[in-house]
């Protein structure tokens, strides 16, 4: 479904990604783990088209999308839930969700809204409140819900469990599992490497802008290098 070949990105003159190769197949849950500054968020931003590509190619369902504008990618179904939640703080919860469905027809967006409220009932109760007043966990649910409003075919999740209490982390991962069960293709970045690998079909390890390891989630969990560097064992 998604194929990345030799992808490189720079911030000014500083290279952040130095030739990434990876692929995500239809229906797969692929995780990306790596330390802070390894380039995980940069990679997701390049995949969403909000960061220009320096070199390489990104293909989605066979079509070259390397130079496609962000909104065109959203229309194709490449939807990102960004790091740090990034909700529209002064707007209400419901407005945030409706903006997630900005490119969809009104009736479709209405049905999607009902599904998001069914998935996160707490959001329905807060629908008229400014998103900025929600707790961290609720904001994360809102960010995921806003992403789902766009009818993702490939969902890019950037650090969905960051800064959340353990119980909420469990809740977010349960939500990711249920999305996978509904056959959404997911590309997951998370600092919680253990959980991200345990849930993944396949995974990549990123170090200073390069993919250094790849394999099934299970294999990487038992890989000595990974255990030492990312799982603290």
């Amino acid at each position: 479904m998604l194929e990345v070949e030799g992808l490189a990105c720079r911030y000014g003159r500083i290279p952040a990604l130095k030739g990434i190769d990876l692929r995500v197949a239809q229906g797969e849950l692929v995780s990306l783990v790596g330390a802070n500054g390894a380039g995980k968020t940069t990679l997701l931003r390049a995949l969403s088209g909000v960061l220009p590509t320096w070199a390489g190619q990104v293909r989605f369902e066979g079509a070259d999308i390397t130079a496609l504008a962000p909104e065109r990618r959203v229309r194709l179904g490449i939807v990102q839930v960004p790091e740090g939640r990034q909700v529209f703080g002064p707007l209400t919860v419901e407005d945030n969700l409706r903006l997630g469905g900005y490119l969809r027809r009104r009736a479709e967006a209405g049905r999607a809204l009902e599904r998001v409220y069914a998935m996160f009932p707490v959001l329905r109760g807060k629908r008229s409140e400014p998103a900025g007043t929600l707790s961290g966990g609720q904001q994360q649910m809102l960010a995921i819900g806003r992403g789902l409003m766009a009818a993702p075919r490939l969902l890019l999740l950037d650090e969905p469990s960051m800064g959340l209490a353990p119980r909420l982390v469990e809740e977010i991962f349960a939500c990711v599992r249920s999305l996978k069960a509904e056959a959404t293709t997911i590309f997951l970045v998370d600092q919680n490497a253990r959980a991200a690998l345990a849930i993944a079909d396949r995974a990549y390890v990123l170090e200073t802008g390069r993919v250094v390891l790849e394999g099934s989630g299970h294999d990487l969990l038992s890989n000595d290098q990974v255990r030492e560097a990312y799982l603290g064992l």
Partner: protein, 291 residues
């Protein structure tokens, strides 16, 4: 209430409504791009001058006014496309200097296309004053107040009720998240400039029958609108309206009761006072967000 006080109040409201429209233009562009567009006053000038020009060419008001507003909106789009957009990524100060340059350019262009004379536009519905509690009100003032009110209500509906309006608010709040939601942020920016230009032009057309118009009318009106936006809180729509009205009334009262020599100083004093004592303005955003 003395008749004199009512008179000053009515005049102040009229002037204030014009300031409010200009201030709204500042706020809309500021929200969309964090740029303070010092060419805002030139949109006011273009509105008035273009209407005078079309009217002189025999075009009836009903067509001349929409044409003038459209011309200003086109200039607003061009400003965004050819002056602001190419400098994307530059610092806000650079962008502000670009808008100052654009305003000088537009004034120069206006003297070339038109002239340096004062022009007057015939009032929309005659000039027989209406007597109200001992004070008099020009019919044109009713136009100013009515149209301004209609515009404020329309903007409140647009930003409060439509998805496009909310997309503009979302873009100003979080550009990255807006892009990820599929909002074309460049279109939002262009729309903001066109909308602000149209608002400025409407203000310039409404005031032209009362206060004359000329190639440099935008300098002072732009400055007053800027002061009103600061007074109300830059970026706040309600603040722009309140700031405009307060400033208009304060100015007229001081001109009437103290001296008209200090009229223009009032706007600057109000702006300085706000910046010193209440930097976010009367209705500006205060940090209530959880991060």
């Amino acid at each position: 209430m003395s008749a004199q006080f009512v008179q000053f109040l009515l005049t102040g409201l009229t002037v204030g409504a014009i300031y409010a429209l200009v201030a709204l233009g500042f706020s809309i562009i500021y929200n969309a791009s964090q740029v303070i567009n010092f060419a805002q006053g030139e949109f006011v000038m273009i509105g008035g001058m273009a209407t005078v020009w079309f009217a002189a060419a025999g075009v009836p008001y009903a067509a001349a006014i929409p044409l003038a507003v459209a011309a200003a909106a086109a200039v607003g789009l061009a400003l965004e496309k050819f002056a602001v957009e190419p400098a994307r990524g530059a610092s806000v100060v650079t962008l502000i200097i670009i808008t100052i340059g654009a305003s000088i350019f537009l004034r120069g262009l206006a003297t070339l296309i038109w002239d340096k004379q004062l022009h007057v536009l015939k009032p929309f519905s005659g000039d027989t004053p209406i007597v109200l509690g001992g004070a008099t009100l020009l019919p044109q003032s009713l136009w100013v107040l009515g149209v301004s009110l209609a515009i404020v209500l329309a903007l409140a509906w647009f930003f409060g009720r439509t998805l496009l309006g909310k997309a503009m608010l979302a873009t100003s709040n979080n550009r990255l998240a807006a892009q990820l939601a599929g909002i074309r942020v460049r279109h939002v920016l262009a729309l903001a400039f066109a909308l602000s230009a149209a608002l400025g032009a409407i203000a310039g057309i409404l005031i032209a029958p009362i206060a004359f118009t000329s190639y440099d009318v935008g300098v002072m009106l732009g400055l007053k609108g800027f002061a009103a936006a600061i007074l109300g809180g830059m970026g706040s729509g309600a603040g722009a309206v309140v700031g405009g009205i307060v400033l208009g009334i304060a100015e007229t009262m001081s001109a009437g009761y103290i001296s008209s020599a200090y009229k223009d100083a009032i706007a600057l004093l109000a702006m300085l006072a706000v910046l010193f004592f209440l930097p976010s303005g009367l209705l500006g955003r205060r940090g209530t967000e959880r991060v």
